[in-house]
């Protein structure tokens, strides 16, 4: 696309010499409109420079440090080979953290998706005051995840939280469930907070996608006698799949990086029961100061995520 004046050279110059050149016209090859060549690099330069700061530098650094032996006590920067990585593979806590993360993702994502889709379907047709509903439903998404976690901790509180109160209405006596401590209930608690905050995200995206479905296709299906379910699965879902794919990708990645909400509710506890891989990395690096080991973990996380993203992007591209 960018075939420049490379084709000029000798023929051009010979033609040029026949003309009356006033001013250094032949030197203006890189000036004027075609300084856009430099101009466009000037425009991206500063942004790229800043991006490299968090794009390249950390990667290089992590790679280097992960092969060193820096810990809380040991400060020498000698290389120790792949010791940290080997240690990583045998670290049960790390694998558990990974497992926890996967569990959160595997449960929350489908629920958000289905719930969001159902809500979008509900709000699709004309509804009085729809604008207001949608405006209100946006609120959970824009709240900080920390605030979200704090809010749900508040709701779940065993002494004065409304959830316990509501359960008490059903069971007949006062309940005081320690949601954030009771091992059986921490997962539901965290997942509840997560779903509360992000289902509206799915809802909004899917609502827009559903609204953009080609009406004439639906009308043709209705004339052909297709029932609701058939129309939904054969026509609507394929039509909104590209948007769904993007939404799944974005939310999936965010769930993998889950930190804030869990931190606010349980700090990864009780013990390490709800520790996600992000929390694990944080603890190792900023509480236990296992610098090199943390670098190895961080690098592993990056690689893992990149692979997942690349695979996902390929699927999304194919779907389009």
């Amino acid at each position: 696309m960018e075939r420049g004046s490379a084709g000029l050279g000798a023929p051009f110059l010979s033609v040029l010499s026949l003309r009356d050149i006033s001013g250094a016209t032949h030197l203006m090859q890189s000036r004027g409109a075609f300084a856009e060549r430099n101009f466009k690099y000037l425009l991206v330069g500063p942004a790229i420079f800043v991006l490299l700061l968090i794009g390249i530098f950390p990667l290089v650094y992590l790679l280097m440090v992960s092969f060193q032996g820096i810990t809380m006590t040991e400060t020498s920067t000698d290389f120790v080979g792949a010791r940290n990585y080997a240690q990583l593979f045998h670290d049960a806590r790390m694998w558990e953290a990974l497992l926890h993360t996967v569990i959160f993702t595997a449960i929350a994502l489908p629920v958000e998706l289905v719930l969001g889709l159902a809500m979008a379907q509900l709000f699709l047709e004309r509804l009085p005051g729809r604008q207001i509903f949608v405006a209100l439903l946006v609120l959970p998404v824009v709240v900080s995840p920390i605030v979200s976690g704090a809010t749900w901790a508040l709701l779940f509180d065993h002494r004065f939280g409304p959830i316990n109160q509501i359960i008490g209405w059903f069971t007949g006596d006062t309940t005081a469930i320690l949601w954030s401590i009771n091992p059986k209930l921490v997962y539901p608690a965290i997942i509840a907070a997560e779903i509360w905050q992000w289902t509206p995200f799915m809802f909004l995206l899917l609502l827009a996608a559903l609204a953009n479905v080609d009406k004439s296709q639906l009308e043709a299906a209705a004339i052909d006698g297709a029932g609701w379910w058939r129309t939904f699965f054969r026509i609507v879902l394929p039509a909104i799949w590209p948007v769904m794919a993007i939404a799944i990708l974005i939310r999936g990645l965010d769930l993998f990086r889950l930190f804030d909400i869990v931190w606010a509710l349980t700090k990864g506890g009780p013990g390490t029961m709800t520790e996600t891989i992000s929390i694990f990395t944080y603890v190792k690096g900023f509480q236990q100061f296992e610098t090199s080991y943390t670098a190895a973990v961080a690098f592993l996380v990056i690689i893992l995520l990149s692979v997942v993203v690349m695979l996902a992007l390929k699927r999304v591209e194919l779907a389009r």
Binding site: A150, K215, W228, S278
Partner: protein, 304 residues
């Protein structure tokens, strides 16, 4: 449930059954009644769902106006007896409210810088296809980087540069982290502007820089605002980076909230008040760009 939102009198009814002739009056009115009932149910469901989603926010706001006695009472009252502003006053008195100011400075400045650098970069990508697909893909992939992986080396770098717990340090980081989003979104908005406007300006006597200021920026004004607000929200709501990179001077409100979580008990009054302080500005900002909400959240995939 028929798909196209049509006049109920012409709808094809449930399960795609054949439409009754308009001349059959009695059947018509029962169809209308069925549809009206359906409408009512839908409305009720909508109200119920919205209430469920809004309830936690209501609770949070409400708690912030209660006195500590009221908060810790059981069974909890679902409305405050009276609106007390004590909790907020305490925050200001203790100087904790300064963290909201810190958040504002840090999020605001980083948004401004990211918007400027990012938009001109986006222009280059959109009009000149600088770096082709590789650059564009690399940039968006930067958004996918897990913060936890990056925050560690950045922290060590900042220690070395004496940037920990400074405004500048956090600003640089937020700028860097938000640039991919800005570039990606603004590229989309710029691509929507007809090229002929810029070409006309070029012919009329504008330099390339002037074209950007005089034509591109005004034309994508709406997209600029929307993207700026989203970028601001991302920075404002951030926790992990702030947790790692600030200590006492540049603490943001999100980190401050976690300071109120004790081992044994939590200072709910302060938590809720600080949360509201940190959340209210966002609600107001988002209310202003409802139109661009979907596009901003879906990274431009949906031009809702």
């Amino acid at each position: 449930m028929s798909y196209p939102a049509r006049d109920p009198a012409r709808s094809t009814g449930t399960q795609g059954k054949a439409l009754s002739k308009p001349s059959e009056g009695r059947e018509m009115s029962s169809l209308r009644r069925r549809t009206a009932t359906r409408q009512a149910i839908r409305f009720a469901a909508a109200v119920a769902i919205t209430l469920i989603f809004v309830f936690p926010i209501y609770w949070l706001f409400m708690i912030s106006f209660k006195t500590p006695d009221e908060i810790y009472s059981f069974p909890p009252k679902w409305y405050p007896g009276q609106i007390h502003f004590e909790n907020y006053a305490v925050l200001f008195k203790d100087g904790d409210a300064i963290t909201v100011w810190n958040s504002l400075v840090v999020a605001g400045v980083s948004t401004f810088i990211a918007m400027f650098l990012g938009t001109i970069c986006a222009y280059s990508l959109a009009r000149f296809r600088t770096g082709g697909e590789y650059l564009a893909n690399w940039i968006i992939s930067q958004r996918m980087i897990p913060p936890i992986a990056v925050v560690f080396p950045i922290f060590l770098l900042f220690v070395w540069l004496h940037l920990v717990d400074t405004y500048i340090g956090v600003i640089i980081l937020y700028t860097a982290f938000n640039l991919p989003y800005v570039i990606w979104m603004m590229r989309g908005y710029i691509l929507d502007i007809p090229k002929a406007l810029e070409e006309s300006a070029l012919v009329d006597g504008c330099s390339r820089w002037q074209v950007i200021w005089k034509v591109v920026f005004p034309m994508c004004r709406a997209g600029l605002f929307a993207t700026a607000i989203f970028t601001f929200v991302f920075a404002w709501n951030d926790f992990l980076f702030a947790l790692v990179l600030t200590r006492t001077e540049a603490t943001t409100y999100t980190v401050q909230i976690t300071h109120y979580f004790g081992g044994q008990s939590n200072f709910w009054a302060k938590i809720s008040a600080m949360s509201v302080l940190g959340t209210l500005p966002i609600f107001i900002a988002v209310a202003f760009m409802q139109r661009y909400l979907v596009r901003g959240m879906s990274l431009g995939a949906v031009k809702g």
